[in-house]
């Protein structure tokens, strides 16, 4: 019987899902979300730097987005964070007015005028009483570098303070220092095409599948049937997808890398041409003589044969070998030397300056690389040094400020700033777009330090991050998607972001907040040319002239967009532009003698090794690709929330779980010398015996981590703390 006449094939509910051609190269889109125009923006989460195509309605407001197809970074793909990038903007938890907190009271709304008056009055009085070192800022790798530079220049040159650092200290300070010391400038050499051009891809402490899914896409596009070797104590998603997993002991990496150099130099599987571009090979050779595979076998947990075999693979002269590292190396008590041990291997085997090679750091945050050049914290803005008087004069000339406004010393590092708060030297903090009360190592200490601060200002898009809740004064910031500016990704590619949504209430872009503060402080004239991010960009561009990061060839934001992003350097008059460019193809480095340096020192013991009382080593890292850092943004997206476990969990080896009588999904208490937390047991096929892993996205975790730091980079050692597990009776 034909009953089709009883079937309602169309109607209002059906119409909700009807699609039509979206134009703009989009293919079909839901009719009710068909864009009137589109624009592009670099994603505001990680340093991969994917470009997103934003779908706009007739008012120019974003209604949807999709990854940009032909952008040389992501080639039409994005991870869930990118796809859902608009969700966090519309959260009800956005700050809409400045908030003032009286002692012991709830925050009350206040006007921008009163907020600025208070800000200026309090900080000026603290400066007057305690001096120019008594206030510090803590900023971020999450805002455009025009804003970072404005903050750094305003704070140091305009307001006359000395100390400021950014959360990039937690993420890539180690890579910065390693490159600077080895090459003479902080210069990650790779371009992402190198993933596709390698025969051997070595990933050290890098879980690309989860942390940088779009870079794993580039690995998968490699048509050379590459060996993919993951060096990681944990059997990460990437380790499981790789062709080989070197499951070494935690912090056995430095010894392993020295042993590889030992074998390679011993067998003379070296590239003399490359070594000719270096200095110090003799002392390096004699140093690694002590690091035979047998000597490091205990420390690395690997057999001699495994080490020898790996050494042969990474020194095969017929193969292009690229090395990539992220936080497994950077967040270590000896990260700088570990990164430099990778650099050393590339230098001796000639795997540098050629397609498919390189000692390449993959950065964490969307604009960590922008921070490295322009934040004016450790280095003087524009790739300069505070201690260099020529640099100071050049910067003063271009910024049109008196040279004596530029300090000759760089600022305290993040941990030293907190130490100075503890000793009472620093009385006030201005925290911008970062959440240290969740993310800083041994975070329990921060609530104690809060008591010591006379004034805490927090500038953020949400009023209720762990840090914003502790503030005396909260300033509501516009977010990614509500402002313009530039990010620089891991391969030195500069890309632009656009305002595609109106900021809620009275929230202002950080750039505009800095303009207001400059005006309120009375140094508005010094920044009279900093009217828009693009104007500021032009000033910063001019600052880079003659530096390795010279971008004087960039005319405008439009040019950046037209070229599909532009990697630094891009010197004025350079006609040899290519979309993908790598460094050191000429074999010249940035020291005066143009030679790279071998840097090394003996591996140190773990700062807090497991013992009888705290028998487990706590590893930390990223949990899923749908979570970002302290979750202030990703937790605001319903879709992203569906894609990660709501509660903290701890990965534990089946044998350990059995021994302790722990069951899957049961809560367990994890305790360190500094604090404790509860997490659900995940008897996981990922960790080794004696180790546990907890993702960093859950606030309680950093109450456990051990505050030790790399002596060169001051980067915290997040991934090794001694803990014990205490069963919670059910």
């Amino acid at each position: 019987m034909n009953l089709r006449f009883l079937k309602q094939q169309t109607g209002p509910l059906t119409k909700d899902l009807v699609q039509e051609p979206g134009q703009f190269g989009l293919g079909k889109v839901p009719s009710r979300l068909k864009p009137v125009s589109t624009t592009t923006s670099i994603c505001g989460y990680c340093a991969t730097g994917c470009q997103l195509k934003i779908h706009l309605d007739e008012k120019g407001e974003a209604i949807n987005l999709s990854p940009q197809a032909h952008y040389p970074v992501n080639l039409g793909m994005a991870c869930p964070k990118g796809w859902q990038a608009l969700d966090p903007l519309t959260s009800a938890e956005r700050g809409t007015t400045p908030l003032l907190r009286k002692v012991g009271g709830d925050p009350t709304e206040t006007s921008w005028q009163d907020a600025l008056d208070l800000f200026t009055k309090r900080l000026k009085s603290i400066k007057e009483t305690h001096g120019h070192e008594s206030v510090a800022f803590l900023s971020t790798g999450q805002i455009p570098f025009e804003e970072m530079a404005f903050l750094g220049c305003l704070f140091k040159f305009g307001m006359g303070f000395l100390h400021g650092d950014a959360n990039t200290r937690q993420c890539m300070a180690t890579a910065v220092t390693a490159y600077k010391q080895s090459f003479g400038f902080d210069a990650p050499p790779a371009t992402y095409a190198d993933f596709e051009l390698s025969d051997v891809i070595v990933l050290v402490g890098a879980n690309l599948c989860i942390a940088h899914p779009i870079l794993w896409q580039r690995v998968m596009r490699n048509k050379r049937n590459p060996k993919i070797i993951v060096i990681d104590p944990r059997s990460t998603e990437t380790a499981q997808a790789a062709t080989q997993h070197i499951a070494l002991k935690p912090k056995g990496d430095l010894a392993l890398l020295y042993a590889l150099a030992h074998c390679i130099l011993r067998d003379e599987r070296i590239d003399p041409v490359s070594i000719a571009n270096t200095e110090g090979i003799e002392s390096f050779t004699s140093f690694v003589a002590d690091y035979s595979p047998a000597a490091v076998s205990e420390k690395t947990g690997l057999t001699e044969a495994e080490i020898e075999s790996l050494a042969r693979t990474v020194s095969d002269p017929s193969l292009k070998v690229s090395w990539w590292w992220t936080m497994g190396v950077n967040q270590s008590h000896e990260g700088v030397r570990t990164a430099q041990a990778i650099i050393n291997l590339c230098l001796i085997t000639g795997n540098i300056g050629k397609p498919g090679t390189g000692p390449n750091s993959i950065t964490g945050q969307c604009n960590a690389m922008g921070s490295r050049l322009f934040s004016n914290t450790t280095s003087l803005v524009g790739g300069h040094e505070f201690y260099n008087s020529d640099h100071r004069e050049k910067v003063a000339r271009i910024l049109e400020i008196p040279a004596d406004h530029i300090p000759s010393e760089s600022s305290l590092a993040y941990d030293q700033i907190f130490d100075a708060v503890e000793t009472g030297k620093i009385k006030a903090l201005w925290i911008v777009a970062t959440n240290p009360f969740h993310s800083w190592i041994d975070s329990g200490k921060l609530s104690r330090l809060r008591e010591k601060l006379d004034f805490l200002v927090v500038q953020d898009m949400y009023w209720n991050t762990e840090t914003a809740l502790a503030a005396d004064l909260y300033l509501p910031a516009a977010s990614w998607g509500e402002k313009s500016g530039c990010f620089i990704n891991s391969e030195r590619r500069i890309g632009t972001i656009k305002p595609v949504k109106k900021a809620p209430g009275q929230a202002l872009s950080d750039f505009r907040i800095f303009r207001l503060i400059a005006d309120s402080w009375g140094c508005g004239d010094m920044f009279k040319k900093w009217t828009t991010p693009e104007e500021a960009f032009k000033i910063l561009r001019d600052l880079t002239q003659g530096r390795p990061c010279d971008i004087t060839g960039i005319e405008s934001y439009q040019m950046i967009d037209d070229r599909g992003g532009i990697q630094w350097p891009f010197v004025l008059g350079d006609t040899s532009f290519k979309p993908e460019r790598r460094l050191f193809e000429d074999g010249f480095f940035y020291f005066e003698n143009r030679k790279a340096k071998f840097l090394f020192s003996p591996p140190q013991e773990l700062p807090e090794p497991p013992d009888v009382e705290f028998p487990f080593l706590l590893l930390t890292g990223r949990g899923t690709s749908s979570q970002w850092h302290t979750q202030s943004r990703t937790s605001k997206s319903t879709v992203l929330r569906k894609l990660y476990p709501a509660d903290a969990y701890v990965e534990i080896h089946p044998s350990d779980a059995k021994r302790l009588g722990l069951k899957n999904h049961h809560p367990v208490c994890i305790r360190s010398r500094r604090g404790e937390m509860t997490a659900f047991v995940y008897i996981a096929p990922t960790v080794q015996m004696g180790q546990v892993f907890i993702p960093m996205h859950y606030a309680a975790l950093n109450r456990l981590t051990h505050p030790s730091f790399d002596p060169h980079s001051r980067q915290p050692n997040y991934k090794a703390a001694a803990v014990k597990l205490v069963r919670i009776p059910s």
Partner: protein
């Protein structure tokens, strides 16, 4: 200062009318037009930018007559980035909390370390779709050309039976719309040679559309995870990495109670209680008969009313007959519609004066209560049995449903004619009904009991649902205690007890699904 405006003094107090820099910047912050006009794309008409990328990921030609489209997932390419979920959400314009594609994790058992794998799933576009068979109003269709299982959103009455029927937890209820929606394999895109959203968006090309035989033979994933694929014949293929035998879903041990479906709890208990009481009221004559009859009728119709509340689109339910051939829900609606006039007639007969053949009519009506009532309850039983959920197997479901009917019949007889026999019968029925429930609960006595649907169900009842379980186990005894004092009180208490029994029935069911994430989603 900005070139467009004259320099502005810092404090506006002296000249309150003048715009401050704050005003100016707040205005600027609200402007989108300029930059958008500057940066927006102007070239409109061109083929989709990703068409070259996905050309090899979708079939070049339509399926042959004995074929259909299917998802193929390459496990060695999928690394768990979950972009497919987001892309599906965004490119289909789904509601904020709606996702048609799901991600889960499978891993080795507890004893050894090793294997871990992300599993991405959407609708399996089954060869023999259970959703389609279960739908009372024919809101599902299997496209003849492509085999895509389509859901007709405007036909749907929002009864959610497809959700219970699907062993893979695919159809999703949209509260906002009062209907179910689900993956349609982006059939509009496929028709134009474009790839589905998930296929387009996978960075590692792990998902593709392939043509498979209409009656697929490849098992989906090891049956340890998914039960019996022969029930619906899912078409999705997982290739590229062999899966160890001892695999399990990462969320298997999560004890999240299922949706309670309150209208259904009330509908089932009230109609069954009502029919039990009615049957006795109709067949006995005592001073209490009319009171019993009225009470029974009220209870029964409360159940009927509750059933309507369960529907998201009750006004469209008149099409229920479209599903009679395959759907027990259609059959239930039919039998209950046939039963519903009986109590009304019985009351009418009570109240009307004598008329010719009244006795015969009255007798016929009275004798029809139990046969029709039992038939109606049987269709209710079959609705749940036909979901193939282990916890709802025939023996357990029929004991519960017919047990409620019998309990209230026994109670009815002790109300209308209190005797040691009727009280004994009541006690016997109430206790007998609890035995199978208690036997399931005992399966969780050992904390290390091997996982099974029954153990899972028992653990949920003794864990998160412990309070309700306590009520379920204590209330019958309280009710029986009152039986001698005031049988009407017993009736109220027993109703509450049966409601708690039914809540456990719904919330503790083990509902088969594709693997989820560790920790589960937290709620249903």
């Amino acid at each position: 200062m900005n070139l467009e405006l004259p320099p502005v003094p810092r404090t506006s107090k002296a000249q309150p009318v003048q715009r401050t820099l704050i005003d100016q910047l707040l205005d600027e912050q609200k402007k989108l037009q300029t930059p958008v006009a500057r940066f927006s794309e102007t070239h409109h008409h061109r083929k989709p930018d990703l068409s070259d990328h996905y050309r090899t990921l979708i079939p070049l030609t339509k399926p042959a007559q004995d074929e259909q489209y299917a998802f193929e997932v390459s496990l060695d390419r999928c690394t768990g980035c979950k972009a497919c979920v987001s892309a599906c959400h965004s490119l289909n314009g789904l509601d904020e909390d709606e996702t048609w594609r799901d991600i889960g994790l499978i891993h080795d058992g507890d004893d050894r370390a090793g294997f871990q794998q992300t599993i991405t799933t959407a609708c399996h576009h089954c060869g023999d779709p259970a959703c389609l068979d279960g739908c009372p109003v024919g809101a599902y269709e299997k496209e003849p050309e492509t085999g895509i299982v389509r859901h007709l959103d405007d036909q749907c009455i929002g009864c959610s039976y497809c959700i219970l029927k699907c062993p893979y937890d695919v159809p999703k209820y949209s509260k906002k719309r009062g209907i179910v929606r689900k993956c349609d394999m982006c059939h509009q895109r496929l028709a134009e040679g474009e790839a589905p959203a998930c296929v387009q968006a996978c960075p590692t090309e792990a998902i593709r559309i392939v043509k498979v035989p209409r009656i697929p033979i490849t098992p989906l994933l090891p049956s340890l995870i998914l039960g019996n694929p022969s029930i619906t014949r899912p078409t999705t293929r997982y290739i590229g990495r062999s899966i160890p035998d001892r695999i399990r879903a990462a969320d298997r041990d999560v004890l999240t109670p299922q949706h309670a479906h309150w209208p259904l709890i009330l509908m089932l208990t009230f109609t069954q209680a009502g029919i039990g009481l009615l049957g006795v009221a109709a067949l006995t004559s005592s001073p209490h008969s009319l009171a019993l009859l009225l009470t029974a009728t009220i209870i029964f119709f409360c159940g009927m009313a509750a059933s309507v509340l369960h529907l998201g689109q009750p006004l469209k339910a008149w099409r229920f007959f479209l599903g009679l051939r395959t759907s027990w829900l259609s059959r239930e609606i039919l039998t209950f519609s046939m039963f519903a006039p009986i109590p009304c007639v019985l009351i009418a007969l009570h109240l009307t004066p004598d008329f010719p053949f009244k006795r015969e009519i009255s007798q016929m009506t009275s004798y029809s209560v139990f046969p029709l009532g039992l038939l109606a309850v049987f269709t209710s039983v079959m609705i749940y049995v036909d979901t193939h959920r282990i916890s709802w197997r025939f023996s357990l479901t029929s004991t519960r449903f017919f047990g409620t009917l019998a309990t209230f019949a026994a109670l009815g007889s002790s109300i209308s004619d209190a005797s040691p026999f009727s009280t004994g019968l009541l006690i016997f029925t109430v206790l007998l009904k609890m035995i199978p429930e208690a036997r399931i609960l005992r399966k969780a006595d050992r904390s290390d009991a091997d996982w099974s649907p029954d153990v899972h169900s028992a653990k949920i009842q003794r864990g998160p649902l412990a309070k309700i379980l306590r009520a379920r186990m204590i209330l019958p005894f309280v009710a029986l205690f009152f039986a001698a004092l005031n049988p009407w009180a017993t009736l109220m208490i027993l109703l509450v007890s049966e409601i708690s029994e039914r809540q456990l029935f719904f919330q503790s069911v083990y509902s088969p699904k594709m693997p989820g994430n560790f920790g589960g989603t937290g709620s249903h």
